[in-house]
Structures are given as structure tokens and as C-alpha cells.
């Protein structure tokens, strides 16, 4: 249980880029993927993976039966495997290589379509080929088949913080010796059902412009995508000569137990999650050199995060560079935590916290910027908070 867990590779597909290189370039250039959403149609605005075609990564074989989530996840897995030389192109696949995937709505669109055909055409006309896509774990099951991942396979759902839970879950499994290498992160697709879930309760930005921590922010813009890390024990990575880029060293999670549809603005639970993450990493707040915020432009959610950060960091908060990357890749729901963790890892590797796309102002005294900001310490904090009361925080250490 004492072994350290490290990150040796990554894969990502999001509105601002496919592949870590393109994602990083656009993130650090301050680009945003928020714009008109062909997928949602009409005047809808989202951070969509536009013109998504999995074929360049996955080929043609077996793609037809995969829904959008399974395709996004399989593409991210393809990239993560390739980045670490663990692709399973031949043989039966590795029984010690697995996948842990966070998701919020999972395959809701596939489920809804399947049910729709049942109630409009009759129960005997549902397509049995589509039934496997109706289970919430279908993306990770499909990706496991596609990439011959025979080890631990798990799907984690904790709403908007699912991605961070998945990373923590994988780290625990590696420490317990139940796997030697696990891809972990999240996936979420944009679809009518998830979109309406947010839109009908009025939390989507009417201006179509998320302004995390902005004084006149008016709501969230949804995003989609998938991000996965390849995680291994430090000893395992060293033994096979893989370069460890980051250490996953602290995690904290709490539930506000207050209401499943509203933030607890004073942020007691969020504060406790961040403190737990620092404590389990064995560090003091002073050691944090950069913060990747969970803020998405939500009036209540962003206010809660400011309270929590203020509670933990006190007056020093104004001197810690902060990035709120959801103005770039949107509130990607179950993938958000994984995208945030990936962002933090890139920041530690580069020695700079990325800019916050479209940043103008904040009145919370946070060190946000439209330009990259120097990150001079070894550790970064990733936050993720959900309006269902779930709070999670992750602490990472750069290994340059």
C-alpha cells in the first residue's frame, strides 16, 4: 500500500483539441471551444467536439455499434496507450491492464433512443444490437473490447466530479496491487437529454459565454470529450523504463448532504475536500503553486469555490495562480475532472498555469489571467464541485 502512483501518459479529445499536443497548444494560447453546437442545433452553444470522426484513430472495424461516448472514450484510450507503448495490437490483451472511467449521464442518449423505439414501434421492434449500449458502463466495456483491456474495468459516477473519483479509484487499485497499469479519467457526450437536464432548470449561460468567477457571469456552457491518464505504480513504471511525469498524491471527497440540486454556497464540504486532499498528500497549503478551478460560470457554484479556497488558503490565495479552464472546454460533466487533472499536469510540466480563456475580471481577489502565469512550486490542486453536493479535490506533484 505504500507505493507511489505516477502518470506515464495521456490521451484527450475535447472541443479545444484532439491529442495532448493540440489540447495543450490551444489551452495555453487561451483558445475556447465554446461556440455554436451543430449537435444540439438551433441557437444552442456548447464546447462540442466538432466534426468528430473516430476513424483516423480506431479504423473502421467494429465502430458502427459504438455510441458517441464509447467512441470518444475509445479514441482517448487509443492515444493514452500509444503514448506509453502499451497498445495491445497483438495477442489476447493484458490481464493487468485496465480502465476506470468516470461519467455522469453515461449512455443516456442510447437508452432514450432504445426506449423511444419501444414505445413508438412496439416492444418487439427494439434493436437488440443497441441494448448493450443502454447500460451505463457500456463505454468502458466497449473500449475494453476495442483495446483488449482485460484487467480492472470500472465505471464511476459521482456527477460533475466523476473524473476525479475515477483517478482516485485507479490510484487505490494500483496501491492494492490489483493492477499494474490503469487508464483513468472520464467521458461525456453532448446530447439532447443531458443538455435539457441543465437547460430546463435555467443554469445554462443565456449569453452563451461562460465567465468563471466573473462578476456578471450568467451560467454554465456544457462541453464534452474524454481524457484519460495512464497510471502506474512508481516501481512498475521504473521497471519497464517508462518516464513518470507526475505523481498522484492526494485526494479528498465530501458530500454536502444538503440538496441534490443546489450548491451549498458557504462551501463547508468543498473546504473539507480540499483539506483532505492536502492532508493525504502530506503537504501544507503553502506547497501549492497553482490551482485548476472547477468554476464553470455558475453563480452559486463559483461563489462556493471562492469561499472554500479562502477558507483553505486565507490571505495567501491572492498570490497563487489560478486557471478556470471550463471557459475553454466547457462543463464537460463526467469528463470535467479528468480534463482538469490533465490541465494541471500540463501546467506542472510546463511550469506555467494556463490562461483562462476570455478572462476579463473577477471580484474575488483571485489570481486569474488571460495570459500564462508562472508556476514555481512542485504541487498543483485540481477542484471539482457538483450541484448535487459532491465535492472532490486532487493534489498532483510534478516530476520534472
Amino acid at each position: 500500500m505504500s507505493d507511489r502512483v505516477v502518470v506515464t501518459g495521456a490521451g484527450v479529445i475535447a472541443s479545444i483539441g484532439a491529442g495532448v499536443e493540440e489540447f495543450e497548444r490551444n489551452l495555453f494560447a487561451g483558445c475556447s471551444g465554446v461556440g455554436p453546437s451543430p449537435l444540439m442545433g438551433g441557437n444552442a452553444v456548447a464546447a462540442e467536439v466538432r466534426n468528430f470522426n473516430p476513424q483516423p484513430w480506431l479504423g473502421n472495424k467494429g465502430i458502427r455499434v459504438l455510441d458517441r461516448s464509447a467512441r470518444l472514450l475509445s479514441v482517448a484510450a487509443h492515444m493514452a496507450l500509444g503514448s506509453t507503448g502499451l497498445s495491445q495490437q497483438e495477442g489476447d490483451g493484458d490481464p493487468d491492464l485496465g480502465l476506470v472511467c468516470g461519467t455522469m449521464f453515461g449512455s443516456v442518449h442510447s437508452i432514450t433512443s432504445f426506449d423511444w423505439s419501444g414505445i413508438t414501434e412496439g416492444p418487439n421492434y427494439v434493436n437488440p444490437m443497441e441494448f448493450p449500449n443502454t447500460v451505463i458502463n457500456s463505454p468502458s466495456g466497449q473500449a475494453a473490447i476495442k483495446h483488449k483491456l482485460r484487467g480492472v474495468n470500472s465505471t464511476i459516477s459521482a456527477g460533475l466530479v466523476s473524473g476525479l473519483y475515477a483517478i482516485h479509484y485507479a490510484a487505490e487499485f494500483l496501491r492494492f496491487g490489483r493492477a499494474t497499469a490503469l487508464m483513468a479519467g472520464g467521458v461525456e457526450e453532448l446530447c439532447e437529454e443531458s443538455f435539457l437536464s441543465f437547460a430546463k432548470v435555467g443554469v445554462i449561460s443565456q449569453r452563451g459565454c461562460p465567465q468563471p468567477f466573473g462578476p456578471d457571469r450568467d451560467g454554465t456552457v456544457l462541453g464534452e470529450g474524454s481524457a484519460l491518464w495512464m497510471m502506474e505504480t512508481a516501481a512498475g513504471a521504473e521497471a519497464r523504463g517508462a518516464k513518470a511525469q507526475l505523481e498522484v498524491c492526494g485526494f479528498g471527497a465530501t458530500q454536502d448532504a444538503h440538496d441534490v440540486t443546489a450548491f451549498r454556497v458557504r462551501g463547508e464540504g468543498a473546504t473539507s475536500a480540499i483539506r483532505q486532499a492536502l492532508r493525504s498528500a502530506g503537504i501544507e497549503p503553502d506547497a501549492i503553486g497553482g490551482i485548476i478551478a472547477g468554476a464553470s460560470g455558475s453563480r452559486a457554484g463559483d461563489e462556493m469555490e471562492v469561499h472554500a479556497l479562502r477558507n483553505v488558503f486565507g490571505d495567501r490565495l491572492g498570490r497563487i495562480p489560478v486557471c478556470a479552464p471550463k471557459s475553454a472546454y466547457g462543463e464537460a460533466m463526467g469528463a470535467s475532472g479528468a480534463l482538469g487533472a490533465l490541465t494541471a499536469g500540463l501546467a506542472l510540466a510546463k511550469g506555467f498555469v494556463p490562461p483562462t480563456a476570455g478572462y476579463h475580471a473577477n471580484n474575488a481577489g483571485l489570481m486569474l489571467s488571460s495570459q500564462p502565469q508562472a508556476l514555481n512550486k512542485e504541487y498543483a490542486l485540481v477542484n471539482c464541485f457538483g450541484c448535487d453536493g459532491n465535492n472532490a479535490a486532487l493534489v498532483l506533484k510534478g516530476l520534472n
Partner: protein, 404 residues
């Protein structure tokens, strides 16, 4: 690392509610399967279901109007309330940030998708009320449990389909033994759904008359619903407060077939590796196991593969290990199934009686395994394995023991 024990159990099942009623009926071979009542199955190719009948959520959901919760959440809150009462723990004296909720499910709140589709079929998208879809994401179920009992620790759903209950209990076990939390409510929930039902019916997987796991004449599974929640805590805490200890969680294993979304690997590759990992995690060997709670859905293929897996891993010892499937009585309660079966395993360890496989007439040709046919048996098991397999090739085995 800390040892972890089970000190409270609550359930809502097709054969009864609460630990005592469930166990009395389970060991008597009760039947919870009958014609589907919650929707009209005219036009379906199947008609049997294992539904929870006469369930009144208002007895259990006390902090909010019960109708604010989906049925999956209602069942889970009810099971959680009974588990907490069964454990005798005094929550008022506890640090709520040290108590978490870990659950499993196959479909979460699928009735919200049904309501959404019914509404848009009747009146278009405009007529869909705003409160339906936010109740769908499956993690609202453990969140509702946390709200009901004011629990502030880690709270998540592990939706690994029909193996999910074992995954969730396993995660709860990990959280306590590493000291991240001091108590976990762990289990699973699923509600009866026309979506799941029409899928299994279309696959031709539903039994026409009865559920007969491992029987030569078995014709299918029976979709069901229910919830079980277990209170997990460190052994020292349980002893200190004088709690009844039903069983100890020794370890668990998970694997993936990576073979097919709905069909098990023909040689039981993933099932074998999950059982082997559970034993290794528990520091036990195949020679230590003296009861297996089978996944045993009753479909021709799944049961054959599970028997092959057990025969392969346990070799010549396999026929000496009693193995039963309670799905013969309660149907397949999906994500709740392995949590309900974990309760059955715990009570088998606690009482010394193992539940039977009902509706058993004769074994497959060449099969020499002991399926505990039609009658509960007093065997005083010490170490048991609880198997669960799922769509997506997700397999999970949990190892439980009588506390030594």
C-alpha cells in the same frame, strides 16, 4: 490495515423487506417471481418479473416528500434506513465526514427516461417538466441516501451493471481499511424498468415459467428490482460498541472479459480471474472456500460458463463446494443483485445455513457441481465467495468470512 466487518443490513426485495423477513423466506425457498404488474406486457414476448410489491416509501423517506425521489432512490433510502437501524449505530455521536455511501446499479433511475419519453411522445419536448431529467444521473441515488441521513463522506455510484453491488461493497471496504473513512453504507439499487425488460425480452433471455439456475431445462433469467445496503466498519469499532458482527470482508477481485458486451467469455476467463484475485486479495486459497453464491441468472449460456469457471479454478475440489443461486427465488435484481447476495452470504456465515437453488430438477450433462437443490442446508461455512458478472464483461467476486 484495518479489518472491516458487516454490522448492519437492510433490504427491499421481491420476497420481502428487512433482514429477518428476507432470511426467513429465502431459507424457506420462497418465490418472488410472478406476472409483471408495473406495466402492461401485452405485446411483449415475456411476462414474468420479480417486482417489489406493496412498497411504501413514506415509511422510509422522511426528510423530503418521497415523490421527490425516483424509485431507485426510494428503495435505496429504505434499505439504508433499515441497515442503520439494524447496526444499532448512534449517528448523532459520529463525525459525518467520516461516513460515506458507495453504491452500484445497472440503470440508475431509468423510469426518468421513460417519463421523459412518455411526455415528449404525448406533447413534444416543450411539455417535458424540468424536474425529470435532473433525477436521472445514477449518482443521485447515493446522494439521496447521504441527504436522508446527513452523511458527508465520499459518495459515489459504481454503475458496473449486474456486478455493481460487489464493486460498491469492495470500494467501501477499501475506504475503511485504508482509514479514509470510519463507516460506509455500501450496496446497490435498481428499479423495475420497461427499458431493461424490453431489452432482455428482445434478446429472448427471459424465462417463460420459472427461474431455474443451473438446471438442465433452464430457459432464462427473470428481471427484477430491489435494494440492499450494508453497514461496514472497522472490526475494533464494532467490538468496542458491542455490535452484532455478521461477517468480515476479506477482499475482492474484478476483471474484464474484453470479449463481448453481453456474452460471457466461453471459457469463463474473466470470471476465473475475478475469483482468483478475490482470493489473493483476501490471502486465501481455493482450498479455503466452503460456499459460493453464484451469479447464476438462469440463462443457458451464463450458467454453463460460470460452472466451467468454478470447475476450472477449484479443480477436483469444485464438486465439494456447495454453490447456489438465490436468483431462483428473487429473480435478477440487476445492480442490487450482488449486494442482496452479499447479505445472503453474510447471513449464511452468521447462521450456518446456506440458501438453496430452487426449481432444480436435474443438472447439465456431465456436471458434477453441488447446487444445493431445493432445500436450505446447515453447513456452517467459514469462508464464502460471492460472484457477479455483467454486461460490458465486468466481473467481480467478493470474499467474506465468519469473524475469527
Amino acid at each position: 490495515m484495518r479489518r472491516v466487518v458487516i454490522t448492519g443490513m437492510g433490504l427491499v426485495t421481491p420476497i420481502g423487506t428487512g433482514r429477518a423477513m428476507f432470511w426467513e423466506r429465502l431459507t424457506a425457498g420462497a418465490n418472488g417471481i410472478g406476472p409483471v404488474q408495473s406495466f402492461d406486457t401485452t405485446g411483449y414476448s415475456a411476462h414474468l418479473g420479480a417486482e417489489v410489491k406493496d412498497f411504501d416509501p413514506s415509511e422510509h423517506v422522511r426528510t423530503r416528500p418521497p415523490e421527490a425521489l425516483g424509485r431507485g432512490s426510494q428503495l435505496a433510502v429504505a434499505a439504508a434506513r433499515m441497515a442503520l437501524e439494524d447496526s444499532g449505530v448512534d449517528l448523532t455521536a459520529r463525525d459525518r465526514y467520516r461516513i460515506g455511501v458507495s453504491m452500484g446499479t445497472t440503470s440508475g433511475e431509468p423510469q426518468m427516461v421513460e417519463r421523459y419519453n412518455d411526455a415528449r411522445k404525448a406533447g413534444g419536448l416543450e411539455s417535458v417538466s424540468a424536474d425529470i431529467l435532473p433525477k436521472y444521473p445514477c449518482n443521485v441515488i447515493p446522494s439521496h441516501v447521504a441527504v436522508e441521513f446527513d452523511l458527508h463522506g465520499p459518495c459515489l455510484m459504481i454503475p458496473t451493471a449486474c456486478a455493481a453491488g460487489n464493486y460498491a461493497i469492495g470500494y467501501g471496504f477499501d475506504m475503511i481499511r485504508t482509514g479514509r473513512t470510519d463507516m460506509m453504507l455500501a450496496g446497490g439499487a435498481d428499479s423495475f424498468s420497461r427499458i431493461t425488460y424490453s431489452g432482455f425480452a428482445r434478446l429472448g433471455a427471459i424465462a417463460p415459467e420459472r427461474c431455474q439456475p443451473f438446471d438442465k431445462h433452464r430457459k432464462g433469467m427473470v428481471p427484477g428490482e430491489g435494494s440492499a445496503m450494508l453497514v461496514l466498519e472497522p472490526l475494533e469499532d464494532a467490538i468496542a460498541r458491542g455490535a452484532t458482527i455478521y461477517a468480515e470482508v476479506l477482499g475482492y477481485g474484478v476483471s474484464c472479459d474484453a470479449h463481448h458486451m453481453t456474452a460471457a467469455h466461453p471459457q469463463g476467463d474473466g470470471a476465473i480471474r475475478a475469483m482468483a484475485m478475490a482470493l489473493k486479495d483476501s490471502r486465501k486459497t481455493t482450498g479455503d472456500v466452503d460456499y459460493i453464491s453464484a451469479h447464476g441468472t438462469g440463462t443457458p449460456t451464463n450458467d454453463r460458463v460460470e460452472a466451467i469457471a468454478v470447475r476450472t479454478l477449484f479443480a477436483e475440489r469444485a464438486p465439494k463446494i456447495p454453490m447456489s443461486s438465490i436468483k431462483s427465488m428473487i429473480g435478477h435484481t440487476m445492480g442490487a443483485a450482488s449486494a442482496i447476495e452479499a447479505v445472503a452470504c453474510s447471513l449464511a456465515l452468521h447462521t450456518g445455513v446456506i440458501p438453496p437453488t430452487m426449481n432444480f430438477t436435474e443438472p447439465d450433462e456431465g456436471s458434477d457441481l453441488d447446487y444445493v437443490p431445493n432445500q436450505a442446508r446447515k453447513t456452517d461455512p467459514q469462508i464464502v465467495l460471492n460472484n457477479a458478472y455483467a454486461f460490458g464483461g465486468n466481473n467481480a467476486s467478493l470474499c467474506l468470512a465468519r469473524v475469527q
